[in-house]
């Protein structure tokens, strides 16, 4: 547990001591703000179907995670591999799993911190109309689950290479593949394939969450996916020793 905690605190500190955090935070909020303003504009149009604004907000802004995932995680392990600090880290009485776990929790915390300001949107809306908080919370839960899977994928890629650029590119490619599965659902005609693709389509999942549906299948999907990639990451780190 010491290893997880020590790594967690050091990585969290590293996030907020680097300019990257503030650049990411800035652009994330700008883009989210634009999406939100645009949505409100659309919904105010008398011809629009209407509906809770935050539902549409979640459905749109999760796409940013495709970029956010690689940026947040690319440094985590690659940097240690490149600078050689991995050597003193892995000769301390800690395991690979603890190190990966600590790094993952730190990135998840930072990710959560990025989303924190968007609570203001819900607050603003609640000034004008009654907000149904159930779906909002479910929406945030969906964002958290998708985020943790994406971050786990990113850490795995980061543990594979000492180049941050390569790690970011690998993460982006993997996440894009995952994203495409949802797009293919619309394109295939085979019923079985459609169903299978629908099951892993993040589009569907976030829509469900935003509608307030928390399906245990989704929970299992994201949690097991996260753990799987974290496991792969710690294996990748261990594997570095053998070569």
């Amino acid at each position: 547990m010491n290893g997880v905690l020590a790594t967690y605190r050091r990585e969290l500190r590293a996030y907020f001591f680097s300019p990257l955090a503030y650049v990411v935070l800035f652009f994330f909020l700008v883009v989210n703000g634009i999406i939100f303003v645009y949505l409100i504009g659309q919904l105010n149009d008398p011809r629009s179907a209407g509906g809770p604004p935050l539902k549409y907000f979640f459905s749109a802004s999760w796409l940013m995670l495709l970029l956010l995932g690689p940026v947040i995680t690319m440094r985590l392990v690659s940097e240690e591999l490149r600078s050689g600090s991995i050597e003193v880290l892995m000769t301390a009485p800690v395991t690979e799993g603890q190190v990966i776990g600590g790094k993952f929790l730190a990135s998840l915390t930072f990710y959560g911190f990025l989303w924190l300001p968007t609570l203001a949107y819900a607050g603003m809306i609640s000034l004008y109309e009654k907000v149904d908080w159930g779906p909002v919370l479910a929406g945030y839960l969906g964002i958290l689950l998708i985020g943790s899977l994406f971050l786990a994928v990113g850490i795995f890629a980061s543990a594979m290479t000492r180049s941050q650029l390569l790690a970011a590119m690998m993460t982006a490619a993997l996440l894009f593949l995952l994203f495409l599965l949802g797009v293919f659902e619309e394109l295939v005609n085979n019923d079985v394939a459609k169903k299978a693709l629908g099951y892993v389509s993040i589009w569907n999942h976030i829509d469900e969450f935003a509608n307030g549906i928390v399906d245990t299948r989704r929970l299992v999907y994201y949690l097991s996916g996260t753990l799987f990639f974290l496991f792969l990451a710690s294996r990748a780190l261990e594997d570095k020793k053998w070569r």
């Binding site: 010491n2 020590a6 500190r13 590293a14 680097s18 600090s85 050597e87 000769t91 301390a92």
Partner: protein, 331 residues
């Protein structure tokens, strides 16, 4: 304290270390010497648990490094060749992080950190950001983290590489100081360092141990007969004959362009007094008189690490040349 048994490490087809066995005894400073690429760092990494050996076994304080890694690693403090710290952290923050990583409790850390800072003489930079420190100071921070959890063994991989001469001297002093309280394994390719610091030396070349012993015993192994260097103000006629006839002297040769003479002596003899008396009675002005150190560790090192079977004949004369150049007067 550390027992390495039959360690072998291959990278693909390349064997970096093949079947090395040695032990570091409690309280001693063991030097690991070898040319670049000899397998020192690979060996060190296997001993600290960073690299698993292809075959073989390491125990620290009786605990197997790969069966009970936590207990074994806790006994070892490690300073790698390239000290890599997190540049955005402050020195004391970094030490606090390392303390937690080593499993020290909050109170233990609170008392251990000032001690480590003090012993490595970095108390005055403890609030500085590591990225702004000079290489020598970073080396000290690395050492401070190595001793933080009060390990019984310190493993230092080329601790003075890349430092300026002043920093080298102060790091060496620090190492000697640390050697009083810890068992130390020190890898280096710098010979004077070994002679200065180490109780015992292991010489590694091409992944094998080629020699082992105290610096003294290794030196003696390569030493020929003792020799004495004599320099007269003007080379007097008949001096060579007179010197050659002195008891204990077996040969006289010209010592070089400065007009000095080298007297080769029988083992165990010291003709310096006789030389003085001879010179005094003949009225020759004696400017310098001193004993030459025999083979230096450097000669042994060069001989051991360049003695390829193919280059045998060459190697036989090459070290001899070197020893002439590197001979020093040790009055």
């Amino acid at each position: 304290m550390i027992e390495a048994h039959d360690l072998t490490r291959r990278y693909g087809d390349f064997t970096a270390v093949s079947g090395i066995s040695f032990s570091v005894n409690e309280g001693e400073i063991l030097g690991m010497l070898g040319p670049n690429g000899a397998g020192k760092t690979t060996t060190i990494r296997m001993i600290t648990g960073f690299l698993p050996p292809t075959s073989g076994q390491v125990t620290v304080d009786g605990k197997d490094l790969f069966e009970s890694p936590r207990e074994a690693r806790r006994q070892v403090g490690y300073l790698p060749e390239n000290v890599s710290l997190y540049p955005e952290m402050r020195v004391d923050e970094y030490l606090a992080y390392r303390a937690r990583l080593e499993g020290l409790s909050r109170t233990e850390a609170r008392s251990a950190i000032p001690v480590a800072l003090e012993r490595c003489l970095i108390t005055d930079v403890r609030h500085q950001i590591i990225g702004t420190l000079s290489k020598g100071y970073r080396q000290r921070v690395g050492l401070a983290t190595a001793i933080l959890h009060n390990p019984r063994v310190l493993v230092l991989d080329e601790p003075t590489v890349g430092l300026d001469p002043k920093q080298i001297i102060s790091i060496r002093e620090l190492i000697r100081e640390l050697g009083r309280q810890h068992t130390l394994l020190l890898s280096t390719h710098i010979l004077p360092e070994v002679e200065l610091l180490c109780d015992r030396v292991v010489i590694i070349d091409k992944g094998l141990i080629v020699a082992e012993g105290t610096p003294q015993s290794l030196r003696e192994r390569g030493t020929g007969n003792p020799a004495v260097r004599v320099l007269f103000k003007e080379a007097p006629s008949g001096a060579a004959e007179a010197l050659a006839s002195l008891p204990g002297v077996v040969g006289v040769k010209s010592g070089g362009p400065d007009g000095s003479w080298i007297l080769e002596c029988a083992p165990g003899s010291d003709p310096r007094e006789e030389v003085f008396r001879t010179a005094a009675s003949a009225g020759w002005v004696l400017l310098e008189l001193g004993r030459l150190r025999g083979a230096t560790l450097e000669d042994i090192f060069v001989r051991l690490t360049t003695a390829d079977a193919a280059a045998e004949s060459h190697a036989a004369e090459a070290p001899a040349d070197r020893s002439d150049q590197s001979q020093e007067v040790v009055s």
